[in-house]
């Protein structure tokens, strides 16, 4: 009877040590997913627990190198958008624009693009000198995130 308990203890100990109860216990813990190699998705939830927003960005650090200009091509962001918010759940075009319209602003060194739909919108932020974007944010418009 005692033997299985000891074995469970031995196997669980490394897992318990890996939890952020020790060295990192003073830090805020976040949830993130690697949706492609080196590309991280960080979800934000509404107070009721529903997903309300995700941010997508490329990690600068990898085992291979450190990329200080890490960004994502628009075509790849489009494919993530299709995966995470398929056409059928987007609704018609948002902000009184035809569906799929992209609105882009450039000011100083920054370029931002918005693709608004009724139920969901995609925002992309990048540097003027690059065609790619540094970060993409998908927002589900009818699920307000918590204020904080």
């Amino acid at each position: 009877m005692i033997k299985p308990i000891i074995w469970v203890g031995v196997y669980c100990l490394p897992l318990l040590l890996a939890l952020p109860t020790g060295r990192f216990s003073q830090y805020h813990r976040i949830e993130s997913y690697e949706i492609r190699p080196g590309i991280l998705l960080t979800p934000v939830y509404a107070p009721d627990g529903e997903l309300c927003k995700v941010s997508i960005e490329r990690r600068r650090y990898s085992k291979v190198s450190v990329d200080l200009d890490a960004d994502i091509p628009k075509e790849q962001i489009d494919s993530f958008f299709d995966e995470l918010a398929p056409q059928q759940e987007r609704g018609k075009g948002g902000l009184g624009l035809p569906a799929g319209t992209e609105v882009t602003e450039t000011d100083g060194g920054t370029r931002t693009t918005l693709i608004p739909y009724e139920n969901v919108s995609l925002e992309m932020y990048g540097k003027t000198e690059s065609r790619n974007y540094a970060v993409a944010i998908i927002t589900w418009n009818k699920r307000p995130c918590a204020a904080k």
């Binding site: 902000l95 009184g96 624009l97 035809p98 799929g100 319209t101 992209e102 609105v103 882009t104 602003e105 450039t106 000011d107 100083g108 060194g109 920054t110 931002t112 918005l114 608004p116 925002e123 932020y125 540097k127 003027t128």
Partner: protein
């Protein structure tokens, strides 16, 4: 806390004195009350004796408390003698320095006993330490439309077409008359975009830039629509599109002061009657602004 205690006990003691005098059949004069309970006296500018305890009057000078015994004003770090117009001890800083808060460009800062660099009409001392000269007010930012906005439509590509209105604004940063070349500029840009009066979005982005040899940073200003061919240009010219931009520029001046200013501009195609037109313009709301100190770290106590 002491003042609160005084507030509580002095009226009580006065009542006891009045009761005791009354029991002895002696009248109590106002002067007697004053002498008995004014724990300390202070001089006003008019030279009249008043009770420092008088909580209705509060502090002296620029909001600082006057010590009744010495006649000195307490500024936190030091005592100030208003009769002399000098602090009673030299200035000091938490980090040891040969001459604390010295600015070699202003000899007044070398006098460690002077009050607000000998400029009491223009300055006030907050904490008993010498106030640094405002290095930021000499720095100006002048905005200029370098390229008037024009509309262009790209050929269709991949089933979509882009129409863009694009212009350029230059910001020239000068310290007096000297352009600040190669200066790092931190920009916080907030845009409010509306179409036919309906707000489309509001967003804030931050970015660092660097001035060129002439002290100029160039800002490309554009607004574009990408839609199915034939629609995009109409979106730009058939509706009133307005982008209001507020930019907070922060720099570090050559003297090391962190300075800041706010620039505002509008990109719009609204004509004089507020109707949509084919022509866009950039209105500079703040063509020339003076920088002011950004949030500065507190002086050492």
């Amino acid at each position: 806390m002491l003042a609160a205690a005084k507030d509580e006990f002095v009226p009580l003691l006065a009542a006891v004195l009045l009761a005791e005098n009354s029991r002895r059949g002696v009248a109590t004069s106002t002067n007697e009350l004053h002498r008995a309970f004014c724990l300390a006296n202070s001089n006003t500018a008019t030279g009249l004796d008043v009770c420092l305890y008088d909580s209705g009057r509060g502090s002296r000078s620029t909001g600082k408390e006057r010590d009744a015994e010495s006649g000195l004003d307490y500024f936190g770090a030091r005592y100030y003698g208003s009769g002399l117009g000098r602090f009673t001890s030299p200035d000091w800083s938490a980090r040891p320095e040969p001459v604390p808060y010295a600015d070699l460009g202003n000899p007044q800062s070398l006098n460690q006993y002077s009050y607000v660099l000998n400029n009491p009409l223009g300055r006030a001392d907050a904490d008993g330490h010498c106030p640094a000269e405002d290095q930021c007010s000499k720095i100006t930012v002048t905005a200029q439309v370098a390229k008037e906005p024009t509309v262009k439509t790209d050929p269709p590509k991949g089933g979509k077409q882009t129409a863009t209105v694009e212009g350029e604004v230059h910001y020239t940063i000068k310290d007096g008359v000297k352009p600040l070349a190669g200066t790092q500029v931190h920009e916080v840009v907030t845009n409010q975009v509306s179409r036919d009066g309906v707000q489309q979005r509001a967003q804030t982005t931050t970015r660092d830039d660097k001035t060129n040899e002439q002290g100029v940073i160039g800002d490309q200003v554009s607004h574009s629509y990408t839609a199915i061919p034939g629609l995009a240009e109409g979106m730009l010219t058939d509706s009133v599109n307005t982008k209001e931009t507020t930019q907070v520029l922060t720099i570090t001046s050559p003297s090391g002061a962190v300075c800041q200013c706010t620039e505002k501009r509008t990109l719009t195609n609204a004509d004089a009657n507020g109707q949509a037109s084919d022509e866009y313009r950039i209105d500079l709301k703040t063509p020339k602004v003076q920088m002011s100190p950004a949030q500065t770290p507190p002086k050492p106590q």
